[in-house]
């Protein structure tokens, strides 16, 4: 019983560093993958969906399968957060390798730079 208890304690002690190491590695890799996909894409279309994911923002364009994840900074001019402002139906434009994503709403345009 005592031996079993010690094994459980050992397992718990190992789980924590394993989780941190593997979890960090997986998350970093995923982040790089997301950035490469987003950075190289020539994005120009209507927003079909938008939500917070991977501690950033995930969106999908109408008639496109790809889902893009990026980490926008607040709007350059009005300090608005992308996930608060962007809605289904808005237009997003970002040429490949551009530093800025443009969000075009009916009456206004917002500019978002993003983390790399």
């Amino acid at each position: 019983m005592n031996k079993q208890f010690n094994l459980i304690k050992l397992a718990i002690m190992l789980i924590i560093p394993i989780f941190i190491i593997i979890g960090s590695k997986l998350t970093i890799d995923k982040g790089k993958q997301h950035f490469t996909q987003f950075n190289t894409a020539n994005i120009n279309g209507e927003l079909a969906s938008i939500k917070i994911a991977y501690k950033g923002v995930q969106f999908q364009l109408k008639n496109e399968k790809a889902k893009y994840v990026f980490y926008p900074n607040a709007d350059l001019l009005e300090n608005k957060l992308f996930d608060d402002v962007a809605e289904k139906g808005d237009i997003v434009i970002k040429p490949a390798f551009s530093d800025t994503l443009k969000l075009v709403k009916k009456d206004k345009t917002f500019l978002y730079t993003f983390d790399k």
Binding site: K55, Q58, N73, D84, D99
Partner: protein
């Protein structure tokens, strides 16, 4: 390409120009933004070719009409020249190698950084001539030149905003760093940020401050739920306006309690990269869950502590610690309980906007 600038004394430079006037292309800012046409003094004698540029350059000390501005250029390269084809000329005089240009003033349209003529009567001031702009097509964007556009202003974090003739605005995210001006306010702002983002202060006042209420029902295996109000204290999205979140936990151990949870979280990376969306951890959308562990003394009432760790894409995780105060049942004759597991947190509402 490595020689950052050819420095010439103004008197020497003046000799090159027939009327002694140099162009006014200096870039400056004090409170974080400016409008080119309203805020920059422009010589009546000639056109303005605003330019900014990036990495490899030394620190500049610019004497502007309102005082000194200290610039340090950062990663990448940036230059502006709205009048391609003409900026290489000054009163029909070509800027050539004699003035420090590599060449091709006409081709790049903006490969010269010229000091403003408010120093023209101050011999001894240096005029700077940029030798580095040579390519429009550098794949790393170093040396990339935007032509036909005008600097509109400098946004937050000194991000450069520029526009074309149709009024379309874009931004350039390889900012110059304005690390000092004569404006005292700026110095104070900078000092304040430096103090606030100091590691010691971040330990004392966490990046995320949280107050919540929740309950756990874990006997061997189980789960819990809590609802929290969070304030983000650092980064560009910091605000007194809170974010309302809900957290669902599952785990093992023994923890039957209902507690008020007060604490905070610290992002282990740069404080400037903190975002409000970091509060959400949703395994359903691909996030790895937060790992948590808690322990406490329980004898009817409970006082305990919970610690969490959440990985992020930067490799720097988020650690958090909470004090739990409330009621709970002990695991056995000794009045303690404890549990551990994983959790997800969803943002219910952000009061930021």
């Amino acid at each position: 390409m490595n020689a950052p600038f050819l420095h010439r004394s103004l008197t020497e430079a003046k000799n090159t120009f027939s009327n002694g006037h140099l162009t006014s292309d200096i870039i400056y800012g004090d409170s974080g933004s400016f409008n080119l046409h309203n805020d920059i003094w422009i010589s009546q004698y000639e056109q303005v070719f605003p330019m900014m540029y990036g990495e490899r350059y030394t620190i500049h000390e610019h004497l502007t009409p309102f005082g000194l501005v200290y610039l340090k250029e950062l990663t990448g390269f940036f230059a502006e020249g709205p009048n391609i084809g003409t900026s290489g000329f000054y009163n029909n005089l070509s800027f050539d190698d004699d003035l420090g240009n590599v060449n091709s003033s006409i081709e790049t349209g903006c490969n010269t950084h010229r000091q403003t003529d408010w120093v023209k009567d101050k011999p001894g001031q240096e005029a700077y001539f940029d030798k580095n702009v040579t390519s429009k097509d550098d794949p790393d964007l170093k040396g990339r030149i935007y032509v036909g556009k005008t600097i509109w202003g400098i946004g937050k974090s000194n991000i450069i905003i520029y526009g074309d003739e149709n009024g379309n605005l874009s931004a350039f995210h390889r900012p110059i760093e304005i690390f000092g001006t004569k404006t005292k306010k700026n110095d104070l702002e900078s000092d304040k940020d430096e103090f606030w983002n100091n590691p010691i202060i971040r330990t004392v006042v966490p990046d995320f401050i949280t107050i919540g209420f929740g309950f756990n029902g874990i006997v061997g295996f189980g789960g819990g739920t809590s609802i929290e109000i969070n304030w983000i204290t650092r980064g560009p999205e910091a605000s007194w306006k809170p974010v309302l979140t809900i957290t669902q936990t599952i785990g093992g151990g023994y923890s039957i309690d209902a507690t008020l949870n007060i604490g905070g979280a610290k992002y282990l990376g740069n404080a400037n990269n903190i975002k409000r969306s970091m509060l959400q951890t949703n395994t359903c959308t691909g996030d790895l869950p937060t790992m948590w562990g808690s322990a406490g003394f329980t004898a009817g009432g409970k006082i305990g502590a919970t610690v969490n760790y959440t990985p992020t894409k930067s490799g720097y995780g988020i650690t958090s610690q909470y004090i739990n105060i409330g009621v709970g049942l002990p695991a056995g004759p000794i009045p303690v309980n404890g549990a551990g597991g994983v959790s997800n947190t969803w943002i219910l509402y952000d009061f930021y906007n």
